[in-house]
Symmetry: C2
Subunit: 235 residues, 2 copies
Amino acid sequence: MSPRTDADELTERPRVPLSRRRVLRAAVRLADRDGLESLTMRRLAQEVGVEAMSLYHHVANKEAVLDGVVEVVLDEIMTAVREAEAPPPERDWRAALRARILAARDVLLRHRWAPGLLGARTTMNPVVIAYYDQVVGLLRAGGFSFDLAHRALHVLGSRALGFAQELFQPGEAQPADAATAEQMADRFPNLAGMLADAVHDDPDGTLGFCDDQFEFEFALDLILEGLERRRAAGA
Amino acid sequence: MSPRTDADELTERPRVPLSRRRVLRAAVRLADRDGLESLTMRRLAQEVGVEAMSLYHHVANKEAVLDGVVEVVLDEIMTAVREAEAPPPERDWRAALRARILAARDVLLRHRWAPGLLGARTTMNPVVIAYYDQVVGLLRAGGFSFDLAHRALHVLGSRALGFAQELFQPGEAQPADAATAEQMADRFPNLAGMLADAVHDDPDGTLGFCDDQFEFEFALDLILEGLERRRAAGA
DNA sequence: ACCTGAACACCGTTCAAGT
DNA sequence: ACCTGAACACCGTTCAAGT
């Protein structure tokens, strides 16, 4: 590679030519840092030290950028899943699938904007197809009929890829003062009771009322257990 | 205002004054007809026969329009859920919840753009809170502890509101010819096997390979069964 | 082959002006 | 009180022109 100046080191390095790969990695970096709404063609160009129109030599259009960004994240997921420690599915398909899904989830937690984008993409992504093919293979090795494996894909849905399926985004949930808290208890007595119950268990307060990881695993285990029950029943 | 022509009668009717309610109902109509991406302030104004800037007298900004649109759909869901025929939860909480969720799903199927929008909204919507409060109340009446009801909300996730959680959007899935089909069988042997198996059961072809309603109910029943098992075990 | 500047057709939104 | 036209700061994208 060619020599570079201090400025190059710090900001851009125009010497290494632009490429699709470099554009997409910059897009992921931009979304990680500033959020998905900041990912515009103009800001992306700025991120790689080029004018906006230059991007069109490496990607067809913005849609292609979003597809590419999804691709990068999915590749990251596939790598994480491949390296996840898990028993062979022939011995314990539930543990095998569980480990893979939790590995996928770890990746998504590093790109919080990704689930929304992945969910919006309706086009069949080859990487996603390959992933679901692996899941079906795992289930087959675990003794599933093709038919029940099909059911399983639908039950798991995007959870198979580690999607959190959260109820709400955390934050901005606390009532401002005791008055509004009381008002809330009036309007939503059941939720208020649930919250009070949780506080009783954990006197530190409502902190950790929803432990995302715990909830994710509880849901996952319930689903896997239901699937195992049907598999064993020969469904 | 000036006298009007026949065209006025047919398209707009400026006589009934603009209102927040009228703007939001027009927005839902526009999204239903042309898709969510067509819902711009300018086109929405056109839909109600007014200039874009007039909208700002009735809604704060576009974000408020989207919030309002969500509100309209949620109101529709709440009405459908309220009118759903269901046993009292004290007698059969599973049937009670199942009927309500399927009623909610019916509404969402009439506004196919709504799940994406509802999913993107992270702010706590009062109507959603009220709905989840009702679900917790139902579970309580069915014998749930607050703690397990809390778990239940997370397991159900947006499925409690009738979200389909589909794997892919239908369409554009068929391989173009036999060659690519064979190629697909090579790359994704498990999915190919699954598809072949389904074709065997239903010789009419791959039509209805994924019966959305069936899959939704299968998943829902599996989840409800897992919850009932935990409730009965006194979790 | 790769990059660019100017331009176009769209956005959401502000503001001063109309009635 | 309600609506409007012109304008601003942004989009994605096209196109002809540069090297």
